[in-house]
Symmetry: C2
Subunit: 304 residues, 2 copies
Amino acid sequence: MSVVYGRVALIGLGLIASSMFWGIRRGTLAGEVTGYARSAETRETARQIGLCDEVCDTLADAVRDADLVVLCVPVGVMGAVAEQIAPHLKPGAVVSDVGSVKRQVIEAVGPHIPEGVHFIPTHPIAGTEHSGPTSGFAELFDNRWCLIVPPPGADEAEVARMEQFWRALGSMTDRMEPDHHDLVLAVTSHAPHLIAYTMVGVADDLRRVTDSEVIKYSAAGFRDFTRIAASDPTMWRDVFLSNKEATLEVLGRFTEELFALQRAIRQGDGEHLHAYFTRTRAIRRGIIEAGQDTNEPNFGRGKA
Amino acid sequence: MSVVYGRVALIGLGLIASSMFWGIRRGTLAGEVTGYARSAETRETARQIGLCDEVCDTLADAVRDADLVVLCVPVGVMGAVAEQIAPHLKPGAVVSDVGSVKRQVIEAVGPHIPEGVHFIPTHPIAGTEHSGPTSGFAELFDNRWCLIVPPPGADEAEVARMEQFWRALGSMTDRMEPDHHDLVLAVTSHAPHLIAYTMVGVADDLRRVTDSEVIKYSAAGFRDFTRIAASDPTMWRDVFLSNKEATLEVLGRFTEELFALQRAIRQGDGEHLHAYFTRTRAIRRGIIEAGQDTNEPNFGRGKA
């Protein structure tokens, strides 16, 4: 490995930024990494655990002289942060983001990018249910995909350098157009998260079944939903509000299908159910063959 | 550990029965274990891997002289199997089952139980997405709950012996009334499975997003759903058809809540979303504190 960007600034020190820092350090992918978080507490924690070479108290200090600035904040505040850093960006610098939504982020951030600064949005398809500066680890991106979503007219050399950077962090990369990205992610991420949040909320709210019962007997399937329903509420609020159309489209299809299956249950149509449940096995096989999940029973948890 | 039942017959040699066998062997909980499966291929596999002390070619041979007969077949065929074994049961024997639904199994099996034979239904809240005779392992029930659902008038000494048996298999036990069991499991298992099946089916069926994309980018959340949506289709068809009322009730509540969240997204009601997503974190904390899931990121998978 070797240095891809001389100086990198990570804005927002949560799971993704902290994992990026440890990954950059693992591969020596940058000369120096600065970091900034809005919360003084987060900055203090970052300093204590050695997250970033320097944690700055202002956005201006963090981005000054940076060759790459990565916005790792909730998508709802990307535009405001871009506006604040714009006057301090070095000519020729690259601004990127790791937001889970691309169309709205591009529309919010793009107009603030000064002439002579590159803007290359990305989306690493990786995460955990944990959040905050202590949750990161260098291996988060290994063998995961990172989508690069260059706006029209983006500098090809800089796009290629961004791909090189993410590959050095352990990822595989693909390029994608923003609207298609938002639809694909609505299917593989946004709708599943909303559905998981909903199911967990309903279980918590049923008067005839206690929370204690839900917890004790969760190994029957329910617990699988609780992991993603424990994800950061602010991040996810912003994702849904920023990707309304695609999320609602997928949820509409989901509801339609759920109604069809409910009707099959009510009418006792076992054939319909069996055929449906057989079909869904193939997708899991594909995911395992593609190295995107483990085939160990129960995700390999509880092997102790 | 020591022998709880002299001779145990396991009927249906899938994940639960094979895990019971290895658990019985681990603790020497039975003198001898016989097994039966309808499929000759399954019986042959069982013989090859040493599953059961004796694999029998008929139900009658398997249950003859058994002190405990455990029905480990899909809930839709419990009644038919009970009818077939009834003439061959030893006086004083105990018949049990491990079905995921209790009211309908009790109604289907109960009438076939001869005078002088005990019927003590159970439901071990444990499983994996794998099925068949090779999928079992002794540790499956460790630290999981097993619900004991004795019918009215059940022999207290035999109920206590059943609890002793499941505790010796590694479980904790609770007693529950059949209708409440079916509602609790509709929340913690049946509805989550149907929802997961639905989401995976929809992803597979969207014309504008390819299966390849769904697979590659599944680590964004979707893959969590695919595990339980890879469960045995026959078992799950029968569960839904046997627990219609409670499953449809929980799905009704789920749909109602999902519509409310969809409306919040459409109207841009970030406060509603944030409050909802904050509340659901508590349930996961409870599950982890109760030892029913791991707190390792991503269920600890992909640690390699």
